[in-house]
Every structure is written in structure tokens, then in C-alpha cells.
Symmetry: C2
């Protein structure tokens, strides 16, 4: 069944008015007909069974038949601080890590980041939000993870420290502290994970992160590419906390 | 430092003769010079520190300065039975799961597989081997995971059953047995994991797999795409077995 996140303004007590962009998708891409059942989410954790009553590329309308809490969100919150890299790879990580269960993405500009022009960030952010929302719909999440405009490396460290989460930085030069040991040592419900760009962090950056309270952890003896490390770190933290169970 | 897997025929007691394809790469792509130190692996678990003594696009030669066991291989063996799908996605999974530590890939033709023409498989297999070898070099593995020609779904089930491994099939309709519970119940050193194509297995196929001794397991309430499920399953099994520690 198709799933759509809609803004609060789309809901009345009994009906849903689909925004124009979604209406167009319903009519022109998905070619759904009147009477089709869809699932609509308000992003607050509720999901609604909706039957389409009027189908038009400018405005689709549906009637709310029932609603219930959507219980697919992990209790463990992961903020993924993700260094900017080549566009395709970055977007791919946003998609996969949304499926897995990240709560929020914070793009980071590190010394080895491939930085897109900063003036493009507004446009980028829109595109990233769209990718994340589609992945959240596809993976049956109850909320759409947030994403904020890119921060420079030191700003990102400051923000993570100010928010007081357990901070982890997977690093290929860390050879003693395992992720599991770090999680055992800091049982929390909220983690900040910092993932380096292709080519890794500079040693200076790792030092700064450690000084800002990040624990460097190993993900094992095999050297993982950036996108593999991001996905593995998220999956393993959620698994360790029992969030990949039924 | 650059790493190269070479066939046994490349090694003498004191020297390494690089095959022509690798020599060309050394000269034309990497532009390495005489006296450069590289790491050479024989695929049996040994790694050799080699200093280039002669550099030529037809034949590079190096002297072996020392050798030692390469300890980056997991003890836990994972055979990944992977349904064929769109080329780019399939190759991407080969690359990422090699980094993570899969032992062997078995491509599978299921009812919803996007099957490439079977006559193309010889060429494909060569290409897949190359992708896997490069990923094994990049991730500092000691061995290159194997890959076999594609099997039809029932043949794949038979092979996995004949080899007697603990067989797991992540399935979005499984809502009780978690991966962790399955691993606890069957502590082994060798697993076969069957990953469905885009669109999932048909219910009939899941039934056949279960009859062939596959345990269906959940990877949690969020619906993962094929490539996310493959990577997550491999990473989580290795993590559960302590193979992602230092």
C-alpha cells in the first residue's frame, strides 16, 4: 500500500486534502483511482487509513477510515554527522540510513570533504529532504528524519557536545575500543555518530573530536569505505540496542 | 600503501613478478616508481612487503622484504546467496559485502529476479570477480571471496542444505524470530544467508526455503531495500559474533 507523509495542514477531522505535488504524483505517476486505499502519515507518529474519494492532478481528497499509532520508530535516537562527499554517495547514505532508522542528519564540512558550493545548499537541502522523505515512506517509518544545513567541522563538534549525547567516531586507526564496548560503557537513548569523508579525517580532526568528547571506536580490522561505515555504524548501534528485533 | 592479490605463479622465494594486467595498472594508472613499497597477498592468508625493483608496463618485478600473516579475515564464514537484480545494485552489494567480510557469493535466480541473459554469465562472472578482488584489496582482506555462476532458486536451496550451514532468510513478513535469537540458537562458524530481490520473495519461495531448513528472521520493523538488507544482515551477523571488534 502506498504511503505518504503529509503536512498537518492537509488533515481535517474526517478528510485529507493532498498537496498539489502529491496529487500530481498520485494521478500522473502512480495512476491511483478513486476508492484506492492508501496510508497517510502526519509525521507525529500516527498513521491513517485513507480511501481516495476524489482524484485530480491539482487536488486529491480522501476520507479517513481509521487511525492508529505507527510503531516502527526506534527508541534509540541517532544523529548522523556525515561529512560531505561526492553527491551520489552522500545521497545514497541519506537514503539507506533513513531506512535503517537514523533520527537526524547533520552534513559536515571537513578538511577532506568534497564541498559543493555553499550557495547551493538551499537547493541541496530541498533535494536531500525529498530523498529522506521518500526513503521514510518506503521503509514504513512513522517520522521523517530531519536534516539541517551543513556545519563546518568545529561547529558540528560544538553542537554535538552542547547536546550532550554519547558521541562516537568510527576511526580506522582505533584498535582497542570496540563499538560494543563503547555502547556498554555509555548506555543511552541518544547517540551522535560522526562519519568521515572518503580519505578519512585528518589526524588533527580526530584529535579535535576526541577533545570534544567523541569516543573513537573500531568497526573491526577490515577497512570500510565511507558509505559502508555509515550504514554499518547505524545498523550495529540499533542492533545492539535491540531495535532490529521484531 | 597499495595492495595487490597475485596468483601463486607470481611468487618465487625472493621475488614477485607482477602479471601483465597488474603491471600495466602499476605503471599507467598508479604511476608507481622503482623503490616504491607495496603489499602483495597470495590469497592464502599471507601478506608480503615488496619493494619494486623494475617497473615496466609489461612486467613489474619486486623483491620480497618480509612476510607475515594477514589477520583481517573473520572466523565466521558467511555465504551470501544473493538474488540477481539490476546490475548496478548487484555489483554494489558485491563490493560492500566484500568490505564487510562475506566469504562467498552465490548469485541466485528467483522468480522476481531481474535476470540478465544466461549466456552473458561467463563475462559477468569475470566482471564480478574483478569488483570483488578490488574491494578485497581496498578493505585489506587476506583472501578474495569466491563467487560462483548463478544458480536457480531450487538449486541454491539444495546446495545450501547439502553444505549443512545454519541457513537464514531475512523476510519482512517474519515478525517473531529476531536475527539475534536465531544466532543464539544456532551458534556456528558458518552461515548461509539468502537475500531476496527487489520486490521480495514470492510466498511460495519462502515456503520452499523454510522446507529446505532456512530460518526466516526479521531485521526489525522498518522495511529495508534489498541492498540495505544484504549489508545489514552481513554486518549484524559478524558483529554478533564479535568479528567487528578490534
Amino acid at each position: 500500500m502506498h504511503r505518504f507523509f503529509l503536512p498537518a495542514s492537509s488533515f481535517s477531522a474526517t478528510e485529507v486534502h493532498f498537496p498539489e505535488s502529491v496529487s500530481r504524483q498520485i494521478v500522473q505517476v502512480l495512476r491511483l483511482k478513486v476508492e484506492t486505499e492508501v496510508t497517510v502519515l502526519d509525521g507525529s507518529g500516527q498513521e491513517y487509513a485513507v480511501r481516495l474519494t476524489s482524484v485530480d492532478a491539482h487536488l486529491c481528497v480522501g476520507v479517513i477510515e481509521s487511525n492508529q499509532p505507527c510503531l516502527n520508530e526506534p527508541e534509540t535516537q541517532i544523529d548522523l554527522y556525515l561529512c560531505l562527499t561526492q553527491r551520489e554517495k552522500f545521497e545514497w547514505i541519506l537514503q539507506k540510513c533513513t531506512e535503517l532508522g537514523v533520527s537526524r542528519f547533520v552534513p559536515v564540512i571537513s578538511s577532506r570533504s568534497l564541498v559543493q558550493e555553499e550557495k547551493d545548499f538551499v537547493k541541496k537541502l530541498e533535494r536531500w529532504q525529498k530523498i529522506i522523505q521518500e526513503a521514510a515512506e518506503q521503509s514504513h517509518r512513522a517520522r521523517v528524519p530531519g536534516i539541517v544545513p551543513p556545519l563546518h567541522f568545529r561547529e558540528a563538534l560544538q553542537q554535538a557536545a552542547a547536546e550532550g549525547r554519547c558521541r562516537l567516531i568510527p576511526w580506522e586507526e582505533e584498535h582497542s575500543l570496540s563499538l560494543h564496548a563503547a555502547l556498554q560503557r555509555h548506555p543511552q537513548e541518544h547517540y551522535a555518530v560522526l562519519i568521515g569523508p572518503e580519505g578519512g579525517f585528518s589526524p588533527e580532526e580526530v584529535g579535535l573530536a576526541q577533545a570534544a568528547g567523541f569516543l573513537s571506536v573500531t568497526l573491526g580490522p577490515r577497512i570500510l569505505r565511507m558509505e559502508t561505515a555509515a550504514m554499518a555504524a547505524v545498523a550495529l548501534i540499533l542492533y545492539d540496542q535491540g531495535e532490529m528485533d521484531a
